[in-house]
């Protein structure tokens, strides 16, 4: 599909930011200009356009590098030992190497979302035309693409406009990637700035992908009452032929659902999904059901419940085909990014492909046409299901006991397990007929099967664990509100003020994958803690599924108990990974719609606003992927702190503030230009928490912002102190850093807080109109 070039040429532009002369930008075709807001200072920002802003953040939030290994092996000069102050043959040191790896991860993540967006936009244009309008919320949404408008300075109106945005994103990722070549960037802080750039571009790519699919595929359009979908291992009627879809890119699943509908077969075949494809197919059609997050892949496949598997892209196990063959399940790969070594049957007549799959002449096929995937998948599964008879490789109890008797307690399984699960002890118990310890492991098993690979006896340990825990697994029947997409402008108008003043104590975005240290229930617990306290809880991806997987005494899930509205006490599922852009979009819209800050290509000012005023924090408790790294870095550039779970420490660097360095915590008072101490709010930009208790207390603390009114700060402090007292058993020792004047002190805690303040020699501080940008000072002194 040919694209023309965008060309934006401005001879002279007067704006609030000064005079731009001879500004010229060329990324494709000339955009039809309907947006009357004047162009801001950084349209389609280059890799270094926002470097000054990045450095402001990086001065305060310094990188703490956590090298995973001591060497670099990225070129044939190497391996180079970078231990301590050594440098590699190219002159690089350890700090730069670590930041380079972080940049590589974020480029991988950004490229993945952008390529996903590119595929979707091309596919949808082919099917629905380049002039299909973008509509993600009807009359409820004016700002249809806040991230794109902020970053690129254009207002996309049709599908074709998104092509231009993607051109920009792809170009930036290429440039960023090039700076990781040996002998390019040498400064760790510049690498970090580029990490932020990758994150920002990633956010644009995600937004493009989601607004394209919402607009054209008829997903819920910013609907707080989006329907509830069925979720859980035991949710499908597996007496029917069952298609399992895995991945993130929905067209092939849409092809399946459309074919079933067209042929009147809905209800005759089950369509179940894992990971974000499951999110998006349930946004598309209510016949689809969700099995669970990514860690549910092996347990479902090995249980033999799927009669056919369709994979698209991202986070799919590389051994899917091998595992599927073991249970005689054919596989259809449907993305060029993940061909699995299968023969390309895109142009083959469907009847032939169906026959080959049914007769097991091929283990699977590659089909790069979603309609054809639909036809082949449905016709095949109907014929394959009776032949398979739900063939499974989960062993019977007797087999497990028999194997357990042969276990040598060599510990290799445990030493391979990311969560250090006591598998040898559980095997010892199993040898005596007690399978409970194995069943308990399932609760916090991430389904990686590293234990299987490690066992010298070749025991399929993950299958043993699944069998032992199957009773609970089969009872998994939950409800999840399907992804609603964006937040409405009117919702932003309603909550903008209480959020900025601090009266809604914060927005907690619980996102990301399922690499949990102790199972997904912790995510539900964290979400409910904050929803009960009338924070706004926003969620997406696997985390949104995990938080559905707990029921209260009345049998209700969080989604049945809490509203899906973006309001205090809401639990708001925006959707799949790419829907994360709407969370950033909500923060941006608070600055634009509520505070009337200019949006167009005005990144720095909006980020400054969000950082100082919008008490939003991200939590990616089970983050594992490069995409999650990119998503986090998009939030860092907006000044929004992100907390990851303990496995997130393996992202190799944190961005940590130092509350013991008062000099780091000054802002400018935009009214006067005076430098004002505001305390460590927010204290960190990126950190890993060791336990859920730590995460909960930290999230409450990270919601504080310099702009909080006293009433708002008192509310935020109440939550922080209360949670700290409950979970840490004491008052926080840093409370004096967050109290600016007497009215900040929560009334119910006055006496004890005052006591701490006296001990610490606390002094009253003023509350400024905070900014980190000198150009935003209204009355300059001197």
């Amino acid at each position: 599909m040919a694209r023309k070039g965008v060309h934006v040429k401005i001879d002279e532009l007067k704006s609030d930011f000064g005079l731009l002369k001879n500004f010229e930008l060329s990324v494709g075709r000339v955009i039809e200009e309907k947006w009357t807001e004047p162009m801001g200072p950084t349209p389609f920002p280059s890799v270094i356009a926002l470097r000054d802003w990045d450095m402001k953040l990086l001065q305060r939030y310094r990188p703490f590098y956590l090298p995973y290994c001591d060497v670099c092996c990225l070129c044939t000069f190497g391996k180079c030992d970078l231990t301590q102050d050594k440098r590699g043959a190219c002159g690089l040191n350890m700090a730069s190497q670590q930041s380079r790896i972080v940049l590589l991860a974020c480029c991988i993540g950004a490229a993945t979302h952008i390529a996903h967006g590119r595929h979707l936009v091309e596919h949808l244009i082919e099917k629905y035309g380049r002039n299909s309008p973008l509509d993600i919320g009807g009359l409820n949404i004016d700002i249809e693409a806040p991230v794109t408008r902020l970053v690129c300075g254009i207002k996309p109106e049709k599908l074709r406009d998104l092509e231009d945005v993607l051109d920009y994103c792809e170009e930036q990722v290429t440039r960023l990637l090039s700076s990781t070549h040996t002998g390019q960037e040498g400064s760790n802080l510049d690498f970090e700035s580029k990490v932020f750039h990758a994150g920002m571009v990633d956010q644009v790519g995600m937004e493009v992908a989601d607004i394209a699919q919402i607009s054209v595929l008829g997903f819920p359009k910013a609907d707080p009452e989006a329907p509830l979908a069925d979720l859980g291992f035991g949710i499908a009627d597996v007496s029917k032929p069952t298609i399992l879809v895995i991945g993130h890119n929905v067209p092939s699943s849409v092809g399946i659902v459309d074919y079933l509908t067209e042929k009147g077969l809905a209800g005759k075949v089950e369509v179940v999904g894992i990971c974000c494809t499951a999110h998006d197919i349930t946004r598309y059609n209510s016949m689809a059901k969700i099995v669970g997050p990514i860690s549910w892949q092996l347990r479902y496949i090995r249980s033999g419940l799927a009669d056919l598997i369709v994979v698209d892209e991202q986070c799919i196990r590389a051994d899917t085909l091998i595992e599927a063959q073991k249970v005689k399940t054919p596989v259809i790969a449907s993305s060029e990014k993940n061909c699995l070594g299968l023969e390309n049957r895109t142009e083959t007549p469907p009847e032939k492909t169906i026959a080959d799959l049914v007769e097991n002449r091929v283990p699977g096929v590659l089909i790069l046409d979603s309609d054809k995937v639909g036809e082949v998948a449905v016709e095949t599964v109907i014929k394959v299901a009776p032949k398979r008879g739900k063939f499974k490789i989960i062993p019977e109890i007797e087999k497990i006991i028999e194997a357990a008797k042969e276990c040598t307690e060599c510990n290799e399984c445990r030493r391979a397990c990311p969560n250090d699960k006591p598998i040898p002890e559980a095997m010892k118990a199993a040898a005596k007929g007690d399978l409970n310890p194995l069943a308990e492991i399932l609760e916090s098993c991430v389904g990686c099967a590293r234990c299987d690979s490690a066992c010298p006896n070749d025991f399929p340990l993950h299958s043993f664990i699944v069998k032992a825990g199957e009773e609970k697994l089969w009872k998994e029947k939950f409800k999840m509100r399907v992804g609603r997409g964006a937040i409405q402008d009117v919702e932003i108008r309603n909550v903008g003020q209480p959020i900025v003043l601090g009266e809604i104590p914060g927005v907690i975005a619980i996102v990301g994958c399922s690499n949990y240290p102790q199972g997904g229930e912790e995510v539900a617990e964290i979400a409910e803690e904050f929803a009960k306290r009338r924070f706004i809880v926003v969620t997406s991806g696997c985390a949104a599924m995990s938080m559905a997987m707990v029921k209260d005494e009345e049998g209700k899930t969080l989604y049945e108990k809490y509203t899906g509205a973006f309001d205090a006490g809401g639990i708001v599922n925006v959707g799949s990974c790419v829907s994360n852009a709407h969370i950033a979009g909500a923060a941006i819209k608070i600055a634009n719609i509520f505070a009337k800050r200019k949006l167009r290509a005005n990144y720095e000012e909006i980020a400054d606003y969000i950082h100082n005023r919008v008490g939003a924090v991200g939590l990616a408790w089970g983050a594992y992927s490069q995409k999650a790294a990119a998503i986090a870095s998009g939030f860092w550039r907006l000044g929004v702190p992100v907390v990851v779970g303990p496995h997130g420490s393996k992202y190799r660097r944190m961005l940590l503030g130092r509350q013991d360095k008062p000099e780091d915590w000054y802002v400018l008072d935009a009214r006067t230009g005076d430098k004002v101490y505001v305390g460590p709010a927010p204290e960190h930009l990126f950190t890993a928490a060791e336990t859920k208790e730590e995460a909960i207390v930290l999230l409450a603390k990270l919601c504080m912002r310099p702009n909080d009114t006293s009433k708002g700060r008192a509310i935020k402090l109440t939550h922080y102190v209360d949670l700290h007292r409950r979970l840490f058993g004491s008052l926080p020792s840093d409370i004096h850093l967050f109290v600016r004047n007497n009215t900040d002190i929560p009334i119910t805690m006055r006496d004890e807080v005052v006591k701490v303040l006296e001990e610490k020699g606390w002094q009253e501080q003023m509350i400024p109109d905070p900014t980190l940008l000198p150009r935003l000072v209204r009355e300059k002194k001197g």
């Binding site: 310094r62 703490f64 590098y65 956590l66 090298p67 995973y68 290994c69 001591d70 060497v71 030992d81 970078l82 231990t83 301590q84 350890m94 700090a95 290799e412 030493r415 391979a416 990311p418 250090d420 490690a454 240290p517 303990p646 496995h647 420490s649 393996k650 190799r652 944190m654 940590l656 130092r658 013991d660 960190h684 950190t687 890993a688 928490a689 060791e690 336990t691 208790e693 730590e694 207390v697 930290l698 979970l727 840490f728 058993g729 004491s730 020792s733």
Partner: protein, 186 residues
Amino acid sequence: MSAKEESWQRAEIAGPKKALLILKPEVVGAMVKKAKRPILVVGHLAAEEYSKSVRMIDYAVRIGKATNMPVVATAHTVNEFIKEGFPATSMSAMDIGSRLADSEWKGLDGGGSYDLALFMGLPYYMEFVILSGLKHFSTNLKTISLDRFYNPHASWSFPNLSVKDWKENLETILAKLGEDRKDVNV
């Protein structure tokens, strides 16, 4: 288990520079005594039961009492120290890690930087990367892992040990530190 420089989690490979094995635990006692400003960092696993009625935190408290060295409790572990009536400082693992990596940090009491940091009870992989951060970026700090498993980014670490051997090692260290043992119940 034989005493080898072998990471507990198999894939967590470090090197060229790897932790020296603590083969004689009394040496740890001597190192602690020799250190000018030692500090003990204790993670949340310390509060869990290692095996029947053995908790790492009991050893942490005893080490703290025997040496008067400051104890930092990470995550929510301070709660457990409060129950034990021991004054630990609460700080997250990343916060204490990054401060220890900063040669200009003057310590919890402002008295100067630490020269020896002992670690126990953090999740293995988290301790692994924090010790790595300290190996590469701290200047005058030595680190010791007192966990039951070999953690290769420390300056010194136990090999992978059985609970019994690990307990014995810690008892030996405590004896070297001159602990009065009559009230000990393990």
